[in-house]
Amino acid sequence: MSTVGARFARLGRHYLYFTGCFGAFLLALTLLEKGGMPRVWIGYLFMFATIVLYAVIGVLSRTSNVSEYYVAGRRVPALFNGMATAADWISAASFISLAGGLYLHGFDALAYIMGWTGGYCLVALLIAPYLRKFAQYTIPDFLAARYAGGSGGRGNPVRLMAVGATIIVSFTYVVAQIYAVGLIASRFTGVDFSVGIFLGLASILVCSFLGGMRAITWTQVAQYIIILVAFLMPTMWLSAKHIGNPLPQVAYGAVLPKLAAREAQLASDPKELAVRAIFTARAEAYAQRIRALPASWEAGRREVLGELDAVRLRAGSLIDIRATERRVAAYPATAGEAARQWSEQQAANLARALPPEPHATPFPGPDREQSDSRRNNFLALVFCLMLGTAALPHILMRSYTTPSVRETRVSVFWTLFFILLVYLTIPALAVLVKYDIYTHLVGSDFSHLPNWVSYWASVDKLNPLIAITDINHDGIVQLAEIAIDGDVLVLATPEIGGLPYVISGLVAAGALAAALSTADGLLLAISNALSHDVYYKVVDPAASTQKRVTISKLLLLAVAFIAAYAASQKPADILSLVGAAFSLAGSALFPALVMGVFWKRANHAGALAGMVSGVGVCIYYMLHTNPILGGSVASQWFHIAPISAGVFGVPAGMAVLVAVSLMTRAPDEHSASFIDHIRAPE
């Protein structure tokens, strides 16, 4: 016990020392900025200093021992395991996009907060302690041991199904993380997007390649500290500025009524109404052109081509010619293409013609039916996110790393605690920034826009993070004239609060840490599934431990490069599917994991059928209802959005698992004693 205590104290000292150094680094940079260091240098320094830091931790904890590589030697104290899991969990989406989602969608986006925290109840109560008692290496390991049967009684079919699910889920997720790394790096340091990706990749690789789970764990603890400081500092500052109370989680309740009053005022403001009328007219113009297809497409094409000729004839400037050529190139190539583009434009204009929705009102809608539909979608999304959380392999894998079952339970508590430190702040940040924009930016003069607006408007030329155009030419900013990308919220908070640029660099470092830490965990989950479950357990069970670790490292390298290559292609389809990964994970793994512990009668055939049908229903629903995948909104069941396909997939998987298990032979004695073992106290 005393050695455990000493280890804990030593780790605590190390990380306190680290936090101190980080503070000193921040202070030094603040002084340097005062001394006139250019902004871009601060961006570079943050990016390189943190990446070097993660690499150093990776090198210090390098290992080629199997147990250290796969499960960090099973001696990570609960508190630190909780911190590492929290960093594993807080992805780029949580850090950057969640607050923006709350800003844009109000109450509806709270489904993510509820779903992504409530899932930990299921992890703690139903899965994590039993995985730790089992004490192997991966999630497919657990399922294969529980549902031993099939070829040679080693549960290989179930194992391979679980490996497949792990890879599909983790791969979409890791591509999104690496993509975020590229975005953050290019926005803050101005390096090329793909250079940013490969810089991030280098840091991920040094860390996980050398030390596997052990290096990842200790890096993630450091990353969590950076994430926390980066998220809390600007928000606390903003809260102190607006409310006079530096605890935003407690204080933002005071701003909500003021925000609601301002929203009501803006909803009926005559100038706002005028801007919205302009957007309605634009949408109507697109609707007319769509109705007049294909003649309107022909006419439009002739018109742009005519303009090009005219510019060439009058020998206009090169810039003019180029601009007109670009317009010709951008013009839809076919009438069908035109119909698609124009209806998108019509929808975008119609969306901007709507009055702001009240932030804190649950499920606003014109009638009871639409309001009910929004509530049902909220419930379905919460359900899917919770069950998906409880089935994500890179999170569950972490239950193997603590010294005992008891520590695993405590570790889930600490995980949720550390996640909540950030998650409870996110709604506060959204409300505070919304209030700031609604009261200070709206109504201000176009010639005196704040600095942060012009800075962030110019950062990403293709998809501007914020764009303000004077639609009704009155020289004053109206709310309806602001087009804002949710991501800018967190990135610009330091400047909105009037903090020095160092804090913006800190936020970028935090976002980078969030993306890198999640990518680390995901890559390890994929490469472990391939090396341990496919190579060692199926292909070559006689492989030496040395060979297993080497294979695992090589696979990690390969998967990392494939993921980075996929991310560098900016795949819109993969990125839009990240939300769906939760439904997929829940449908594939959750029934088999939970019934494996709580129902002795569940057998190999049942588990296999349950997994197949869960995934099948989930994918079928997504394909049939997601417009991106070629489905249509009209074929939705109960008006449930495709992202919540798990709401049908999980019950289907559960029902099929039960039915098929009951129809086939009960599992043998070996399975029964296995279940008794994982249920028994230590």
Partner: protein, 148 residues
């Protein structure tokens, strides 16, 4: 979440068959009847203690899951009705979805860790007493390759 009732658990606390591996740990020797009787009795007592432990675990788990379900479902399903109430300035439904539910989840996970610690300690001691001074190794899979 729906948890189908567990048919095998209705047969508890008398599990249908002693675990095969446990039988190999305590081989019944037909020659020494007194010894064998005591061993069999010890084994039965151990099984009973185990099934009581599992029953307590399940009770705690399902009770806390009920709280989890109520907190998640009710706060969303009745959100429009709860919006009229206010808590320290927040509309109640907004507060529950943004922070309240998450804090309840944290309390659930904390209560589970504390409760299971008590349950494990109590039945762990009971099991150890029954298995004599040298506790029997747990049946199941030893972790392979850990020591390499």
């Amino acid at each position: 979440m729906t948890m189908p009732t567990d048919p095998s658990s209705r047969a508890l606390p008398a599990p249908p068959a002693p675990p095969a591996t446990a039988a190999t740990v305590h081989p019944l020797n037909p020659g020494a009847t007194a010894d064998a009787g005591a061993a069999a009795q010890r084994q039965l007592a151990q099984l009973a203690a185990r099934s009581r432990h599992w029953q307590r675990t399940r009770c705690l788990t399902f009770a806390l899951l009920a709280v989890w379900l109520a907190a998640s479902f009710c706060s969303v399903f009745f959100a429009r009705e709860l919006a009229a109430l206010s808590l320290f300035g927040w509309p109640l439904s907004f507060y529950l979805a943004a922070q309240g539910a998450a804090l309840i989840y944290l309390a659930i996970v904390g209560a589970y860790a504390a409760g299971m610690r008590r349950v494990d300690r109590r039945y762990g001691r009971e099991l150890q007493q029954q298995s004599g001074p040298a506790p029997a190794p747990e049946p199941g899979m030893p972790a392979r390759g850990e020591t390499s």
